[in-house]
């Protein structure tokens, strides 16, 4: 095998690999959007952060309380309600249906947040 033909073969292999890899990457990207990695909302300084998150249907949302004071995560439409979360406690809820889900802390009701569930575009 000449050096030139070896280079061409290598090039073809790379192109082939890239061609094969492309749909896999695309599939992976769309599966992130569909199933969703868990999304974390921090509770620090009596604030939900980020205050609004937008996620795909089926996404698991995890709240973690970083304050020295307990907080709760309570849906304004009574869809979900955590127990009191002490420092470092977590609460998880999986959002299946598209829509807007406003919530608040029932102990400190000035603390509000929103989860927006939206199917990815395309």
């Amino acid at each position: 095998m000449t050096l030139a033909s070896a280079l061409i073969r290598a090039h073809i292999r790379e192109r082939l690999a890239a061609a094969l890899a492309l749909p896999i990457v695309a599939l992976a990207a769309s599966s992130i959007a569909m199933a969703g990695e868990p999304v974390t909302i921090r509770i620090d300084n009596f604030t939900f952060g980020p205050e609004t998150v937008t996620v795909a249907p089926g996404t698991k949302v995890i709240w973690i309380n970083g304050d020295d004071i307990p907080h709760t995560v309570v849906s304004q439409t009574k869809l979900f309600r955590s127990k009191a979360l002490d420092t470092d406690d977590r609460y998880t809820f999986t959002f299946d249906a598209p829509g807007e889900y406003p919530y608040f802390c029932s102990l400190h009701p000035h603390m509000t947040g929103k989860v927006v569930v939206k199917a990815p575009a395309g």
């Binding site: 620090d44 300084n45 009596f46 604030t47 304050d67 020295d68 004071i69 307990p70 309570v74 304004q76 127990k83 009191a84 002490d86 420092t87 406003p102 919530y103 608040f104 029932s106 102990l107 400190h108 009701p109 000035h110 603390m111 509000t112």
Partner: protein, 317 residues
């Protein structure tokens, strides 16, 4: 103004209303006198001299003991409650009873309530409670509180009683809070309040106590009560109304017409002054200074026409 037709208005006899016009609080070592609605501080020595004649009736306010709290702002909230009770036991005049304005426990656990009860029992005087939001964190919110402290109360734990001619009203403003809102009394409790005071003479001194301040201290931190103004409107006709609250772990006072507002210190941990920190969370102070930020308040009703006077006592300093 003197009214000869009012038997309570005999200037030679101190009236109930006159009795409440001078309320002495044991406190920071400063006596706050309110003349013309403007607070003026005088030194503790003068305050003690003014107290020379013993008051006929006094009670004490304790608040926000947060038993179970063990975070850096105070790793031993039970210990500081114990110190507060020691302080109460050494008061020269034993209070007739103690009002606890809520957040007895930190997480509403049986063990926390047990510990609080055991220590507060050592005061040897009757206790009256209203719940804070930290006392309603059990699985069936408020069940544990009502089972322990709710005897004879209505709804979420509100009630009233009379003592030495003063009408005391305990209100609950920590249940059914609405998103984006403040403390909440609710229509049922306001209806009850209206009926409760309907038959009372306007000269009857009133003391109202609740956990969250009934007036708006700082809405950005939720320090106020959404429908508090409705309760205060019902109380407007009374000549002397004193509102005692907790929740904000610091002393804030205000006089509006015939209504005097006071918030008490916590026995567990201090919170920052409104807007002075990123959040109202527990304020960590140098260990040696903690007890200057914790304390109790004692209220004495003394006969005479002195203006309202206020003192608060820290655990140390």
């Amino acid at each position: 103004m003197h009214d000869p037709t009012d038997p309570n208005d005999d200037p030679t006899r101190p009236s109930r209303r006159g009795a409440l016009e001078c309320m002495v609080w044991a406190g920071t070592g400063l006596l706050w006198t309110l003349g013309g609605g403007l607070p003026r501080a005088v030194g503790l020595e003068r305050a003690l001299a003014a107290e020379a004649s013993p008051a006929p009736f006094s009670f004490l306010q304790i608040s926000d003991s947060h038993v179970g709290f063990n975070k850096p702002a105070n790793p031993d909230a039970l210990g500081t409650l114990r110190e507060a009770v020691e302080k109460i036991r050494t008061l020269p005049q034993k209070p007739s009873f103690i009002i606890h304005t809520g957040d007895i426990s930190h997480l509403s656990k049986d063990r926390e309530f047990d510990d609080a009860d055991q220590i507060l029992r050592e005061t040897g005087v009757p206790m009256f409670y209203v719940p804070g939001e930290h006392d309603l964190l059990d699985d069936e919110p408020g069940r544990a509180y009502l089972d322990r402290y709710g005897k004879g109360s209505r709804g979420a734990g509100w009630y009233s009683f009379d003592q030495n001619g003063v009408h005391f009203i305990g209100l609950v403003n920590v249940v059914d809070l609405k998103a984006g809102g403040l403390g909440n009394l609710g229509a049922e409790q306001l209806d009850w309040l209206e009926k409760d005071i309907a038959g009372l003479s306007s000269s009857k001194p009133i003391v109202v106590f609740a956990h969250i301040p009934l007036w708006t201290v700082y809405p950005e931190w939720g320090w106020g009560t959404q429908d508090g103004a409705r309760a205060l409107a019902l109380l407007k006709r009374f000549g002397s109304v004193t509102v005692l609250n907790g929740h904000i772990h610091q002393i804030i006072q205000k006089v509006e017409g015939t209504i005097a507002f006071h918030t008490a210190r916590s026995t567990a941990f201090p919170q920052p002054a409104p807007g002075s920190a990123p959040s109202p969370g527990p304020m960590k102070v140098p260990a040696g200074e903690l007890r200057q930020h914790l304390g109790i308040a004692s209220v004495s009703l003394v006969h005479g026409n002195e203006p309202l006077a206020v003192i608060d006592t820290p655990l140390a300093g």
